[in-house]
């Protein structure tokens, strides 16, 4: 059972179905439904992009929904210049990369211990860790602000990274645990007989096998951490340290009816996660199976 699951993950590509008679009509129906649906789906995004490239005068005279009669980079230049979105992007990268790497490292360690060893109460531990991730973040805000302060990491990126790591751990551990459980015991057993210690088994066997789910989780964690708002406004109070989403909120307060600037800034905030997502797309689809085939 577990072995077949492994094979599926390792070889996700499957040859297309042989063409059958009577499928042609069905294909036509398929596209007739999907094309309008897709257009409806992307319409809001197209609309925001168009809005970002219109000039302020055009929008204020003709309204947001009017057919564009102008083309202007002003929205982007204001967002990146006076709106500080460029700086915020760099901050977000500085927060997201270490937070994702650290989260996955720690989560894989915990998942390894819980999935490959008979640790007493491991189900309870896993459940508890996952439950921690499910807490409404609001319940933690005030105490977290106090604790980061008592640690001297209030208003530092280190503090923000720490809370991202702590808060995400439960879910990443849960997912990786599910995946690691599906790795056949024979593999690690053989290595153990060859004299490999727990650390070597973790580093040389388990982690390489987990690569697809790690990649998928990395994509997931990147979007979560990059898109975070609530933690950054709780732990940080210096404008120059605000990551993208918080900076976007700041910018919205300053350019309330400048829809072109706000639209441009939100595109700036959305593009990096879109890039990460499409770069990881294949891992995402294959890796999200995550040992949940049971």
């Amino acid at each position: 059972m577990t072995a077949t699951a492994m094979v599926d993950i390792a070889a996700p590509a499957r040859s297309p179905e042989p063409e059958r008679l009577g499928r042609r009509k069905r294909r036509w129906v398929f596209h007739a439904v999907m094309i309008p649906l897709t257009l409806v789906w992307v319409a809001p995004m197209i609309f925001v992009i168009v809005l970002a490239f219109r000039s302020f005068d055009d929008i204020s005279q003709n309204g947001t929904a009017a057919w564009p009669t102008s083309f202007s980079w002003d929205g982007f230049s204001t967002a990146l210049g006076a709106g500080n979105m460029g700086r915020a992007l760099w901050i977000s990268i500085q927060v997201t990369i270490p937070a994702v790497l650290l989260s996955l490292l720690l989560a894989s360690m915990a998942a390894y211990a819980l999935s490959r060893y008979a640790i007493p109460g491991r189900r309870a531990i896993l459940l508890t860790m996952l439950a921690g991730n499910l807490l409404p973040p609001q319940i933690l805000l005030i105490p977290v602000a106090r604790i980061t302060e008592s640690l001297g990491v209030y208003d530092t990126l280190v503090g923000l990274i720490a809370i991202h790591v702590g808060f995400g751990l439960g879910f990443y551990t849960f997912v990786l645990h599910g995946f690691m459980r599906s790795i056949p015991a024979e593999l690690t057993e053989a290595a153990r007989i060859d004299g490999a210690g727990p650390f070597q088994i973790y580093a040389r066997i388990i982690m390489p096998l987990c690569r697809p789910s790690l990649a998928a989780l990395a994509a997931l964690a990147t979007t979560w951490i990059f898109n975070d708002l609530i933690w950054s406004i709780t732990v940080l109070r210096t404008e120059a340290k605000l990551p993208v989403t918080a900076a976007l909120l700041n910018l919205q307060g300053g350019y309330v009816s400048n829809w072109n600037v706000v639209a441009a800034a939100s595109i700036v905030a959305a593009v990096p996660t879109a890039i990460v997502f499409f770069a990881f797309q294949r891992h995402f689809v294959s890796g999200l199976l995550m040992g949940s085939t049971k």
């Binding site: 211990a113 508890t128 921690g132 499910l134 706000v262 639209a263 797309q281 294959s286 999200l288």
Partner: protein, 309 residues
């Protein structure tokens, strides 16, 4: 030391992996201990503090006065809280139901490789990479009185359906819901696509040869194989509905007059605008209690199924 508190009296399932893994090496304890301590320090400890705060009256400045269960008692006579609770139920059903139905339908439709499938998939799951704040902003523009939605309705002769979507108490919650589902459907679709990839295609083909219709094949062949993915989807949907805050905050802030208020927005307002930290924490505790019921049911089922095989 600390881990002893974590060791719930659950009997370790001895036997299944007994071959060599019975004695846990010290380094493995370390592997567990380090992440566990991080989570305890950043999550459980603050959460415990919040439980304590929920039993007090505290404005964040000065001393918290213990008041017992007064906050919880006050909650149940608070009309706004009851409204928010009701809205949250609507939200959970609408958000979970619509995104699961939509995501599953799209995943089934877009599962088999065909021309254009890649494009359709990408278009539908692109929104999930945007932050909720960005999503809220995107949709606020559409819902403006002169925005695209009303303009389109007017263009096709449906002026009577034009609304001030976010300012009308009868539509505000649903308008936000649509935006949230727009973002979530792609995500759920990705999860189900992954799950469908793990199903056995030969079973489906065999059923087709036996003359089973599309619905029957889905219901009796594909669906049972998706059980594992369902649990992941369930977990993710619960997590995301509990995190639903940013988008409501960005679009309506719970208004007009609390008609789109959710527990989390009401909690935030109580905690941060009014500084009723004790009262706010008690709302958070209620949210937590609701979540706990779901997650325990879910995990118990998941572990049971795991033990059955």
């Amino acid at each position: 030391m600390t881990t002893t508190t974590l060791e719930a009296p659950v009997a370790a399932p001895a036997g299944r992996r007994a071959g060599g893994a019975r004695r846990v090496p010290k380094v493995v304890w370390l592997f567990l201990l380090v992440p566990a301590l991080v989570e305890i320090g950043m999550v459980f400890w603050p959460a415990l503090n919040s439980f304590y705060i929920s039993l007090t009256k505290w404005n964040g400045l000065g001393v918290a006065q213990p008041v017992g269960l007064d906050n919880f008692r006050a909650l149940f006579s608070d009309e706004v809280f009851r409204g928010a609770l009701k809205n949250n139920v609507i939200w959970a059903i609408g958000f979970g139901g619509l995104s699961v139905l939509g995501g599953l339908a799209l995943a089934v439709a877009l599962n088999r490789p065909r021309r254009g499938v890649g494009l359709y998939r990408s278009a539908i799951y692109l929104p999930m990479v945007f932050s909720l704040a960005v999503t809220g902003l995107f949709w606020r523009v559409q819902y403006q009185p002169d925005g695209t939605i009303n303009t389109l309705l007017g263009a096709v002769g449906l002026e009577s359906l034009e609304r001030q979507w976010l300012a009308d108490p009868t539509t505000a919650l649903y308008a936000v819901l649509v935006a949230a589902v727009w973002r979530q459907v792609g995500y759920v679709m990705v999860l189900y696509l992954a799950g469908l990839k793990g199903t056995d295609p030969t079973l489906d083909d065999a059923a087709a040869v036996d003359g089973a219709g599309a619905w029957q094949r889905f219901r009796f062949v594909t669906w049972p194989q998706l059980r594992g993915v369902n649990t992941v989807v369930f977990a993710v949907t619960v997590i995301d509905s509990l995190r639903t805050f940013d988008i409501v905050w960005a679009m309506t802030q719970g208004g007009p007059y609390h008609s789109s208020e959710l527990l989390s927005t009401y909690m935030f307002q109580q905690g941060f605008t009014f500084l009723n930290l004790g009262y706010a924490s008690s709302i958070a505790v209620v949210i937590f209690a609701l979540a706990l019921v779901f997650i325990i049911t879910y995990l118990v089922r998941a572990t049971k199924e795991g033990a059955d095989t």
